[in-house]
């Protein structure tokens, strides 16, 4: 009899883990709350560090799931209602009243983007030309990044660490991917509009992974992107609809005022709204410091929840890049396989 695994969440982690588990002969149900698989990846244009089209990566995974025959069953527009321990395994009840007898549950509910409106001083949702990194990615997909009045922006500024490393919003952690995403997006703006001046306002540049440092250097030497170390204090709109921003160049030790046509807020990751609810239903531990799920340990049990038969993967256990998320998903599949075959 084949083992059954319920994967909660149909983003990259859930899809990749399902493919790995199906490849090992297990039956997988992916429970996705929206009407389609893909998560944040479905809304992205190109991926760092080598500008791969996000849609290609997503299509590869979707095709894999399609070709998995009956080994992977996708249940969209559904959420987990309850999980009960049984003599063998777990009884998972879904919101559509479908009941699944599972041998293991893998939680891959992912992350949410920080709500930029919370940084009131940056004017997101108020000033027309203040965007988030996700909004900009949507415009890249349309191959057009224009101001609200249809002009090509002459000056664009990126603000790093919006909702990350910020005690004021209770997010003291680093979201890991925003620095390199800002470098990627700044370079893409220059590719699209070489005459546009681009500024990156950063706190630290955390170019920690392979190829990141090269991207950062290329952004400066090839594209001429300006990097200014300093956080933004406030944003206002001028009479002609441009944005006046105030910051400090902490390397020069001087305040700085800049008028730009477009401001991009690099929104960080935060635990998704489901985290609290799932922690109660599945008896999972949530970190009091960053509000993501806690794993059993950070080394050998990095995909194990504290509850038997429940596993965790992807950005629901903290911010991760897409390559790290996919690795984590495969690692979780391996852990589940070992658990089921032990």
């Amino acid at each position: 009899m084949e083992d059954v695994i319920v994967v909660i969440g149909g983003g990259p982690a859930g899809m990749e883990a399902a493919l790995s588990l199906a490849g090992r002969g297990h039956k997988v149900y992916i429970v996705e709350k929206t009407n389609a698989l893909g998560g944040h990846l479905a809304r992205w244009d190109r991926l760092f560090p080598q500008q791969d089209p996000a849609q290609d990566i997503l299509n590869d995974m979707l095709n894999g799931i399609k070709n998995a025959d009956d080994k992977i069953e996708v249940i969209c527009n559904a959420q987990v209602q309850s999980v009960k321990k049984r003599m063998r395994g777990l009884e998972v009840m879904l919101s559509n009243q479908k009941m699944i007898q599972a041998d293991a549950v893998l939680v891959c509910c992912g992350f949410e983007l920080f709500r930029a409106e919370r940084k009131e001083e940056y004017g997101y949702g108020i000033y027309d030309n203040v965007l988030t990194s996700a909004d900009l990615e949507e415009r890249f997909r349309q191959k057009k990044v224009l101001c609200a009045d249809g002009r090509v922006p002459e000056k664009v500024a990126f603000v790093h660490c919006v909702g990350s490393r910020d005690e004021k919003v209770d997010h003291t952690y680093c979201s890991k991917v925003c620095c390199v995403t800002a470098v990627k997006q700044a370079s893409e703006i220059k590719e699209l509009y070489p005459q546009t001046e681009v500024f990156n306002l950063y706190m630290d540049l955390r170019m920690f992974d392979r190829y990141f440092e090269q991207m950062y250097h290329k952004a400066q030497s090839h594209y001429g992107v300006h990097f200014v170390r300093g956080r933004l204090s406030e944003v206002s709109e001028t009479a002609d609809g441009r944005l006046q921003i105030k910051t400090e160049d902490t390397l020069l030790g001087r305040p700085m005022k800049l008028t730009v046509d477009m401001l991009v807020l690099m929104v960080g990751m935060q635990a998704c709204a489901q985290t609290e609810e799932l922690s109660e239903k599945l008896d999972l531990k949530v970190s009091s410091s960053d509000h993501f799920f806690e794993t059993k340990d950070l080394f050998l049990k990095g995909n194990y929840a504290h509850t038997k038969g429940i596993f965790l993967a992807g950005a629901c256990t903290g911010p991760k890049s897409l390559p790290d998320t996919l690795q984590d998903a495969r690692s979780a599949a391996e852990s589940i396989h070992r658990y089921l075959t032990a």
Binding site: I126, T238, A239
Partner: protein, 356 residues
């Protein structure tokens, strides 16, 4: 600019403001700067709106200016504030209405300190008892007087004789709202609308027919900034601040400025004269400045009070262009006459800014 975005933020910064039964405390300096504002707050509240507002001559300075100039310790200030609250307690009131923005910020800060550190509250109670024999209760509500006018803005609008509308064009007047720094920048949840996009004056402007101007240096200090002005050698900073604000609002062509702080209307008003006389630059129409008002003065104008009874003749920047736009009648010859009709004498007129 999307107003909806601001409205979402305003929802997060609602505050409970009682609409009646207040113990009112005046500002140290407003009666000199804008002599009729507090008088008309009381008159509108008591006579026009029928509210119970009590004040006593035993009230003193709160010590806020000394505190923010670093010349009085917080411990001493707490005893002064405790005494004010004792006066309220003895008068039988629980709602505290504050005329001054700095006092409002200070009361908010001290109450927060007492709530966070109960041992400090006990120490203050002991000190007050030993020094004066008085006891006090912490107010149930502390409202800035502009909070109260905000709360009653629709009642005022219902009684309005004039609106913030240009009578010739029929368009809303463009109004710069300037909020005192100590209103919400320290405790955003104690101010209507928060610190970034305060709604307290914007709500009045909307209710009375005007349109708020959101200009880049809106959040910037008026130029009072205590250490900038009280330290004489720093006064250049004070003027620079005000100059920066006017340069920033100029492209929006505002018709008027409304404020809720003792210092802000004074500095925005007087420094326009200094800028005009030293640089030859004026920011209003036809060589005038941009008229600056307290919210009580604007409420008074809307309700039909005589401009000279409201004390508008002591403004440096002539208010007549605004009165003409609103269609408010006034007697030019009565501008410099006292309440008893006695001639107060005309001030010397400046060279570069039109004053009538």
């Amino acid at each position: 600019m999307k107003l909806e975005g601001k409205k979402l933020i305003w929802k997060d910064y609602q505050k409970e403001i009682p609409d009646d039964k207040y113990f009112y405390v005046r500002s140290c300096i407003r009666q000199n700067f804008f002599p009729s504002s507090e008088y008309h707050f009381l008159k509108i509240m008591r006579e026009d709106l029928g509210k119970d507002v009590y004040e006593t001559e035993h009230h003193t300075t709160c010590g806020g200016i000394g505190y923010h100039c670093d010349v009085i310790q917080l411990d001493t200030i707490m005893s002064i504030v405790a005494r004010q609250f004792a006066l309220m307690t003895e008068a039988g009131y629980k709602n505290y209405a504050v005329s001054c923005i700095t006092s409002f910020g200070l009361y908010t800060e001290i109450i927060h300190t007492w709530q966070t550190f109960p041992e400090i509250l006990e120490k203050t109670r002991r000190q007050l008892k030993e020094a004066t024999g008085r006891e006090f209760e912490i107010p149930e509500h502390v409202a800035h007087a502009s909070d109260i006018i905000f709360k009653l803005r629709h009642e005022i609008a219902a009684k309005a004789k004039y609106k913030l509308i240009n009578q010739k064009t029929g368009k809303p007047l463009k109004v710069v709202e300037h909020i005192g720094c100590h209103y919400a920048k320290m405790f955003p949840h104690k101010g209507v609308g928060g610190a970034e996009y305060p709604y307290v004056l914007a709500g009045m402007v909307e209710a009375w027919g005007g349109e708020v101007v959101d200009y880049p240096e809106r959040r910037h200090c008026c130029g009072f900034g205590f250490r900038q002005y009280f330290v004489k050698s720093n006064r250049g900073y004070s003027l620079s601040n005000t100059h920066k604000k006017f340069e920033s609002m100029e492209p929006f062509k505002p018709d008027m400025i409304i404020t809720n702080c003792p210092g802000c209307p004074y500095f925005l008003d007087r420094w326009q004269y200094v800028i005009a006389e030293s640089e030859g630059k004026t920011y209003g129409e036809n060589g005038h400045g941009i008229p600056v008002f307290t919210y009580e003065e604007v409420a008074g104008l809307v309700m039909g009070y005589d401009p000279w009874d409201l004390g508008l003749q002591v403004h440096q920047i002539a208010v007549e262009p605004l009165l003409d736009k609103m269609g408010i009648p006034y007697a030019p010859e009565a501008k410099y006459k006292g309440l008893d009709g006695k001639d107060l004498g005309k001030p010397e007129f400046p060279q570069n800014i039109c004053c009538c």
